[in-house]
Symmetry: C2
Amino acid sequence: MPVLVATITPVEGQMDAVESILKDLVPLVHDEEGCELYALHRGRDCFVMVEKWTDGDALRVHGSGPNLQLLNQQLEGLVVGPPGVQVIKAVPAGDAAKGSL
Amino acid sequence: MPVLVATITPVEGQMDAVESILKDLVPLVHDEEGCELYALHRGRDCFVMVEKWTDGDALRVHGSGPNLQLLNQQLEGLVVGPPGVQVIKAVPAGDAAKGSL
């Protein structure tokens, strides 16, 4: 079950505009096939989305689907380059409830 | 409830050694006061820890506590610089179960 951490960095002064766009996106992605987790977080100067998908196919469909295409259009000019994306895999350890998303 | 994403990048050839150290650390941190989530993930060339703490005090105690001090000693020479750390805050949106850690 792939996990993904995406970091979106707005240009200066656009944190609130980008947050609004991302908040509108979240419920659309929650309805996508295979979305287990799509959790938006705000940092000091960036947003971090923590995602979990049932399998690699679901993640690929999401990555090339209409919701992300719309997002990329909406973020044009508001963000510093493309998002930083890390596709990662859980390493089980310790207490199962605290050790996995 | 603060969320933290920490990225640990091993020097070349040390992914497995670092994974072993981090796996041993996880159960110790799960037993720390205020640890809600401490989930280890492996990427292509780095590890990503996704953490959630009950409050800022618990996170501060963890950050200066003996488990992290031991970790820093164990990782010496095995990692590229200090971990990348982002302290972030959940932005509620969409389905509560899929929208938060």
